[in-house]
């Protein structure tokens, strides 16, 4: 063989990021074509965590679907409980007592803080600042302790049920929450100062993964992703559910559309959640916490749609009843799934390190993507 015979191959490298990779946050596989460090194309491959949850919903009486929703978005399972409970209540025309609604909002916002703290820690550690992970999990631990006192579980709460909530606030819960809220803003500011002002952190995020408002709307983005593009789209504000219409809170939106904007939206949202929780504790009325529902719950034929704002975005449940004890069809609109569709449009032209930053800024949970 002479030198002219050999042809130096200069095609790009095809790399599978995942399904086992430290930064895909679960079992996501990204098939990326690389030219050196630069990404040419990206295809998200999903399905590694598929359990057929929607089909399993259909094979059970309405109330037995709740534990499965814990496994959707496992970082904010109370928000998933709420979405499906609302759909069931709307199907059957069940009214929820006012106190239960306040408790639901309180729990969901606590869960939102816990979920965003996981985001803060994993996002920072994806970027190489491992210490923030420990700091934010220390704070999250306090929230989890509170939720454990309330629900008995630390991750899969299974607590918001059709008709209300099963138990009232335990003794000393309100004081515990207030004590947490007294310390929390300071701890959050500490992490915020450590990261947001850091030159390297900003350099890694500013102008990276810019999503224009038009693009965000066209892809159906929601939650912190669309608010990071400057669109103040928040289900709690535009289509209030439970008692969110009585709450005073600000919907943070940053026009930059880059990873830093999405990060800042979540930091600000934690502060707003703390505000909502304070209001809940102050205004919560006494009274019933559960509406009595028949043992065998058979809603009339029809369909219901429930929209909620989960920490990841717009989490909706579509439910169809055919008059039997089991739902005829259930569909979950998962925000993480929708956000993954942005990756093939965003990633080409960026570097490998940016994949981690962009994917991290979406705060994807694979349990929700694959269902």
């Amino acid at each position: 063989m002479t030198l002219t015979d050999t042809e130096i191959s200069s095609t790009g490298m095809r790399l599978n990021l995942g399904p086992q990779h430290p930064s895909t946050h679960g079992v996501l596989r990204l098939l990326v074509e690389l030219d050196g460090e630069v990404i040419h194309s990206c295809r998200p491959m999903i399905g590694y965590l598929h359990r057929g949850l929607e089909k399993m919903f259909e094979a059970r009486p309405y109330r037995q679907t709740i534990p499965f929703t814990d496994r959707l978005d496992y970082l904010a399972s109370l928000n998933c409980n709420l979405a499906i409970s609302q759909a069931i209540e709307r199907l059957g025309g069940v009214e929820v007592p006012e106190r239960a609604q306040y408790i639901r909002v309180l729990l969901c916002e606590l869960n939102r803080i816990a979920s965003h703290l996981v985001f803060l820690g994993t996002f920072a550690s994806d970027l190489g600042a491992t210490t923030v992970f420990l700091y934010s999990f220390r704070e999250r631990e306090k929230v989890i302790d509170l939720l454990e006192a309330m629900t008995g579980a630390r991750l899969t709460y299974n607590y918001i049920r059709p008709g209300g909530v099963p138990e009232d606030l335990p003794e000393g819960f309100a004081e515990g929450v207030r004590a947490f809220l007294d310390e929390f803003p300071r701890a959050l500011d500490e992490n915020d100062r450590l990261l947001t002002g850091n030159g390297i952190f900003r350099a890694r995020l500013e102008g990276v993964g810019v999503i224009s408002p038009e693009m965000a709307i066209a892809h159906g983005a929601s939650g912190p992703v669309i608010r990071g593009s400057g669109v103040p789209y928040d289900i709690r504000r535009i289509a209030p559910y439970e008692v969110y219409d009585r709450m005073e809170f600000h919907v943070p939106a940053f026009a930059e559309g880059d990873c830093l904007a999405r990060y800042r939206v979540r930091i600000e949202e934690m502060r707003q959640s703390a505000r909502i929780i304070t209001q809940c504790l102050r205004e919560m009325p006494e009274g019933e916490i559960m509406t009595k529902m028949p043992k065998i719950f058979k809603p009339p034929v029809g369909e219901a749609y429930s929209r909620t704002e989960s920490p990841r975005g717009e989490l909706s449940v579509m439910m169809v009843s055919d008059g039997t004890p089991n739902p005829a069809r259930v569909h979950v609109r998962a925000p993480s799934f929708v956000h993954l569709s942005l990756l093939p449009a965003l990633l080409p032209g960026t570097k490998i390190a940016d994949v981690v930053a962009i994917l991290g800024s979406f705060d994807t949970v694979l349990g929700e993507v694959d269902r």
């Binding site: 430290p22 050196g36 460090e37 210490t131 700091y135 302790d145 509170l146 390297i200 890694r204 390190a353």
Partner: protein, 370 residues
Amino acid sequence: MSVQTSQPARTAPGGQLVLGLILTLVLVGLVSALAYLPWYLLAPATKFIAAHPVLNAFLDALVVCAFIAAQCLFLIWLERKFAGWLQARLGPMHVGWKGTFQTVADAVKLLLKEDIIPTHADRPLFVIAPYLVFVPTVLAFMVLPFSLSWVGYDFGLSALFALSISTVAAMGILAAGWGSNNKYSLLGGVRAVAQLLSYEIPMVLVVLAVVMLADTLSLTQIVQRQAGLWNIAAQPLLMAPAFLIYFACSLAEVNRAPFDLPEAESELVGGFHTEYSGMRFAFFFLAEFANNFFSAGLAVVLFFGGWLGPGLPAPVWFTLKVLLLIGLMMWVRWTLPRLRIDQMMGFCWKLLVPLALALLCATALWLVKG
């Protein structure tokens, strides 16, 4: 049912600090006492060794290797404790007092592990790579002066030798990256070579400035020239920025955050050593921590008066200064996020290289005028 909130572990920071200080003093005292032992009794043996150059060189290398292994075990423990302290947790606690022997247990585990070579690896390259990384570090240690007499091999060009021999490690890392036949390893290897070669340039320029001031390339003589005042105090306008540039470069040279791109865990899984396990992996680890010690040691020699200091024996002073610098490196590592590859290269070529060049020119001008 009542609410349980987690209480932070009760610690008395003041008490721990005092205890730590006392322990440090005791340790320093013990090590210092070593210097006053009747070493002259060994004179016949040392004479015999000195008469046989091959034996002499062999023993020198053995001592250096043993020292590297020992300091590596200690530094890994220290790093984990330090990280624990920064991250509001305890760090290793179970093996030995405060986890002192954790790293020993880890080393034993690594020794016992199965030696895995991936099927499609480039076998010779894969096998030789860890040694290509480790041996240059050992060689560099040979010229690092712990005191006037505690130096493996002292000769006139030791500064040049130290800088040039440590560059060889880049070859070993590339060999590891290529030989593993793993895409993450390859990316890590390529990153490492780009990084190590780039940061070598401002580093050499800064060392040149010190060499010009000292008018010698011998590390021991550079220290001796600082007998009056350490370099960083004698020429603060020139040497303080020089030290900062050197410090940034040395972080990059030893692959530590914010320049840990070649082994960026969240991006490249394990970087160039993804496929390595057991003792081969341990050699990369040894080399990394030995490099750490070496670059901090070189900084002490160049800017902080090497072994010079009042009261304590010279090697103790040297080690204390090195440990302080290593502590600084650890602090940086556990605080900062990682740079992206283009930012890392830009930082070197657009900022450090021009600055180092300007510094070199300023030093030259000062020498001519002054």
